[in-house]
Symmetry: D2
Subunit: 165 residues, 4 copies
């Protein structure tokens, strides 16, 4: 029953991502880029499996549901001030977006934190595209880019752990 | 200028607390209860000062603004499902409320975490009253009780550090 | 191979605990006490299984190996000052013992943090006995009591998650 | 008295760094590199002040004393196995070094985490030099590079907060 409930929450999260322009394959690409220099024969399939494992965790679902909701409310101008401005401007000192995803980073151990910090700074692939979109349009991805970065970071940790067999 | 900006954000947070039924003196009482067994001559004034110091931190303002907003949106039934149900029912596995306040717990060092965990479990004073209210009425304090617990825990850590001079 | 390596590390940790006076059944008792009020038909077997799952995690092994080593070096007076005094006196502001076990608390989600804080404060069962021993004898359990508290807290979270099916 | 005690602990930590080949100016350089792209008129003095503020925190002293002690014990082959091998080989999955410095990263808010992850991955300046030294000689800097990265990251956060006045 738990399994089934989680499956349904997982699908809700995947659909939410799609509706906001993010495919799991976008996240898989980041994982591959993070780990290929350490694992020469790494395949995209291995990375996709890792993303899938992270997306099955309840902690991850709750962070996604909360973060994307705040992004959408900010787009619709439905938050109270000064929160509305802090989130819609992606204020660099706001920091709650990074805090929210801490629990995702840690699902496969503390090395996820390092990967998250790197990705959050370098903004590879879909993260850079969303960041640009957020700055140039009325779209708000303040939480989304941290969610993606944290999922990619956790999946990269999982790949690293498994390759260390 | 920074100081003035923070002063204004601090006042916004204090007003928000008042409008939700929480006075800083309620938090001070929890700090006093947490520390009196370790510091025999502890006064309420020392505890009130510590709460005041915690309430001056930008990290704390941002967590308060975000958490209370989510509580209020849940009360107004304005969140998407399943987030609406998770927050309005204070689902014990949701966990995002505890994550959100982690940054508050840590403002005076890692011993804040221990105090937070204790307070979150024992629910002293205002925390217990809000918890009861949340369960018996249409009020939602899912984030509020963790915010109060974390502020009290951080203030207690500050008192402990200062008394160790 | 990974499995076998982890099995062996797990056994190393269990032996290390035994040599320091801690049985897994001591930890199981704390888990049972933490969760029985929420789950009326909870059994000791369910709690023992949860402790076993936590003890199988690599993150947990590394924290145990590091923390117990520091306790033993402190007992043998082999640390440099002022670290020797900080650890052998279990200085309340040291805080590194709480930081070290954060990764254990989180293996089954953020609700582990709350349980850890409570246990660290209330010191039930073996934790209280070790704490007393540390104060009255030359034994040093500065890290051990936090390790036990964190393992119990994580196992309690696992029990809570599973009972929420 | 507290101030004086902290001053003395701070000096102990600076001396420990020197004895292990690390000057505060090495850390200041990393802070400057991290922040110069965001603050065009940033000076080295501003960065040095920020490093000095981080080095005044008790949390930071305790993390330094503990981490450097473990590095030195590993160099002297004085740790029990398998911990000796894990630390002296800087095993990528060990992760306790990253956990230990979490409390440092957070002293100026959660944005410190992002900077830490980036620095830990890119290994600028002294961090890269120590990493190379650790791999090519009998020196062990498993904890040292994370300590430096975390101090630099926290100082960079402090610079960012102050420049946002």
């Amino acid at each position: 029953m738990e399994k089934r409930y989680n499956e349904s929450l997982k699908q809700t999260c995947i659909n939410l991502f799609k509706s906001r322009g993010v495919e799991l394959s976008d996240i898989t690409e980041i994982v591959f880029d993070l780990q290929k220099k350490y694992i020469p024969d790494l395949t995209m399939d291995v990375c996709a499996d890792a993303v899938d494992r992270v997306m099955a965790k309840r902690e991850v679902h709750y962070a996604i549901l909360t973060g994307v909701e705040l992004d959408m409310l900010a787009e619709q101008n439905k938050l109270s001030e000064p929160l509305q401005t802090l989130i819609s401007n992606d204020s660099p000192l706001y920091g709650i977006d990074e805090i929210l995803v801490l629990s995702i980073c840690n699902v496969y151990g503390s090395i996820g934190l390092t990967n998250f910090g790197y990705v959050d700074k370098v903004k590879p692939g879909i993260i850079g595209r969303l960041d640009k979109l957020g700055k140039e349009s009325s779209a708000c991805h303040t939480f989304m880019d941290d969610l993606i970065g944290a999922i990619a970071a956790a999946a990269a940790s999982s790949v690293a752990h498994n390759s260390a067999l």
